[in-house]
């Protein structure tokens, strides 16, 4: 073996093979990490429409109460969109199995319903990670309105077409 080849082999082992061994260690270590519970996907919402209609800001939501809700998740943060509902999105945070989101109504919806200024619609729910399909149970309430009765809601996640992923 020439000196050039020997140096190449040494450099290759140090710069390529050893890092690859390190990669195996990283992958092994990473298996112990816990990521936030998955809520991404389409959910079927079940809410009592009468209760929802009685709630400030809830009237326009009541018409969409049977519609699907789409949750787009990025780690602990998520955004929630009503498929056929008013033009409003909610963004929230996941903490363990608890979800908390505030609805951000569009300007048009806010002027119609009076929501979005001093009255903000909030969603608090708990996801059951072991249920198959996943389900969540929670409350829809109006912040800054102690007299408003919170509305109970349930949602079930639809089976995803493209397998999420990598299990």
């Amino acid at each position: 073996m020439s000196a050039t080849t020997r140096n190449f082999v040494i450099a290759y082992v140090i710069l390529v093979l050893l890092p690859l061994v390190g990669l195996l260690g990283i992958l092994r270590q990473g298996r112990n990490l816990a990521a936030p519970v998955s809520v991404d996907g389409n959910w079927k919402l079940q809410v009592d429409s009468n209760q929802l209609s009685a709630m400030p800001c809830g009237k326009s939501l009541a018409s969409a109460q049977a519609a699907a809700v789409t949750i787009s998740q990025s780690g602990r943060n998520f955004t929630l969109n009503l498929a056929n509902g008013p033009k409003a999105t909610a963004s929230g945070v996941i903490d363990g199995t608890a979800l908390k989101a505030s609805v951000q109504p569009s300007a048009a919806w806010a002027s119609e319903t009076g929501c979005g200024s001093d009255r903000v619609l909030t969603l608090s729910a708990t996801v059951d990670p072991k249920a198959n399909p996943k389900s969540l149970v929670g409350m829809l309430s109006v912040e800054g309105c102690p007299a408003c009765t919170p509305v109970e809601l349930r949602a079930i996640r639809e089976v995803q077409a493209e397998g999420k992923r990598g299990r």
Binding site: T4, T5, F8, A11, Y12, L15, V16, P19, L20, G22, L23, I26, L27, Q29, G30, R31, L33, A34, A35, P36, V37, S38, V39, D40, S72, Q73, S74, G75, R76, N77, T79, P129, E162, G163, K164, R165, G166, R167
Partner: protein
């Protein structure tokens, strides 16, 4: 559902106009046109148009119409991947010296391992429990270790450096990186899709190996007829060009059917095509114009429509983004630079090589879209990685000019014997733009 033709044609017109204008502006500031087109795509998405004029954005790009735009753009990417494969000559890779082999392998392993290490930090923050850490880390590794082979070729061509030592080493290393990166990505896609379908991975891998062997040892021989006819007649008939396109689509469909992705089949078909220089140039000329000027801008726009910089909100998220850019640059630029310097390249030239290898461009966007499609990365992480791709591609030309001016590269090339053969690839459109 039939597409609304008016909406689709309007979308294409708007995308083409914006991409041409922004691309031209970027050319004026000495950036490859493709960088401008990537920016144009982002501008048309929720990050700018959707944020500044939401009504116009919904009118131009209603969610129900995006499926058709996506289908068209994917056809463009399938042909583009065929052209990328066509530009890679495996024989040239075999003739590399030890230095280039080491540099190319380090330029993969360094960003890959650093990305996997970074994943330990990012996974609990930007992923969720439906994604396995292994898939997440391997995907991040593949995404950070890719180099934009065509953009690199374009930058070197524009600066007349393609035949310099730096240029030849950079092109050879980028080719190795891309082939390796796509193999790793193929493994990740297989891992994820087989987990979903329940098909044992060995069965899918076996099928793919069988397909690859048939392509390399069977179909490849038949493809030589294309080159023979081209050599004898100086051109290929429309029927033969259509047959070539059919073979590309057939190969793409096979890899998709085998559980991988359309793009791998297209890339493989390009890689096994004859590599005679005039033949390659002829095929590139036939396919590039429509792909680069029409279909790829649609892909940029579609990528832009998925990229919402608004998701990167708050100080914490921007810190993640900055860390991703730093790690990607450290791994790719630093790794390539260190390896080439250790193997005898002067420090400045080594830094220039590292800068060139750090160009990610369109190839990165292709990989990221696959990651988003199979949902191994979240929308926020996708947006951060797109920002990283734009940043690292944008920085290439000015940083290269700053640390490694042309005169130094040429002087170095003249004083030392060339170790790597001159590559053939010169992917460019009729107007000189490259993808």
């Amino acid at each position: 559902m039939m597409p609304n033709l008016f909406t689709l044609v309007l979308q294409i017109a708007v995308i083409l106009a914006v991409c041409r204008v922004v691309g031209t502006i970027f050319q004026e500031i000495h950036q490859p046109r493709v960088v401008g087109e990537m920016f144009a795509g982002i501008m048309l998405g929720p990050s700018l148009l959707g944020w500044m004029a939401p009504q116009l954005s919904v009118y131009l790009f209603p969610p129900s119409s995006l499926g058709f735009l996506n289908a068209l753009s994917q056809v463009g990417v399938v042909i583009f991947m065929f052209l990328v494969g066509l530009g890679i000559n495996p024989k040239e890779l075999k003739h590399q010296g030890h230095a280039a082999v080491l540099t190319s392998h380090v330029s993969i392993t360094a960003p890959f391992v650093l990305a996997a290490f970074l994943s330990l930090y990012l996974y609990p923050k930007l992923s969720d429990d439906s994604v396995a850490f292994t898939s997440f880390a391997l995907f991040m590794g593949a995404a950070m270790s890719i180099t934009a082979f065509p953009v690199l070729a374009r930058i070197l061509t524009e600066r007349d450096l393609l035949q310099s030592r730096l240029g030849t080493v950079a092109i050879a290393c980028a080719a190795v990186d891309d082939v390796t990166g796509w193999c790793i990505l193929a493994y990740i896609v297989l891992l994820i899709r087989s987990a979903h379908t329940g098909t044992p991975i060995w069965l899918t891998v076996g099928g793919l190996i069988g397909f690859a062997l048939i392509m390399i040892y069977g179909v490849r021989r038949l493809l030589r007829r294309f080159e023979t006819i081209h050599r004898e007649q100086g051109a290929l008939s429309e029927n033969l060009m259509a047959l070539m396109l059919l073979l590309v689509l057939g190969s793409a469909l096979c890899t998709d059917w085998l559980g991988l992705h359309l793009l791998f089949g297209a890339f493989l078909m390009g890689a096994i095509m004859p590599k005679e220089q005039k033949f390659v140039r002829y095929v590139l000329d036939r396919f590039e114009t429509i792909t680069v000027t029409l279909l790829l801008p649609l892909f940029f726009a579609f990528t832009g429509l998925h990229t919402n910089i608004g998701l990167v909100k708050g100080q914490e998220m921007w810190i993640y983004c900055a860390v991703i850019i730093a790690v990607a640059t450290l791994g790719k630029l630093g790794g390539s630079m260190l390896a080439s310097w250790l193997t005898g390249m002067p420090a400045r030239e080594a830094a220039g090589l590292g800068t060139l290898m750090n160009t990610r461009g369109l190839m990165e966007l292709v990989i990221l879209n696959i990651g988003l499609e199979i949902k191994v990365i979240s929308p926020a992480l996708f947006s951060m990685m797109v920002i990283m791709a734009l940043f690292t591609t944008f920085m290439t030309t000015p940083v290269l000019e700053w640390i490694c001016p042309d005169r130094l590269i040429r002087a170095a090339s003249e004083s030392m014997p060339r170790q790597v053969p001159v590559p053939q690839l010169d992917l460019k459109a009729t107007d000189g733009s490259a993808a």
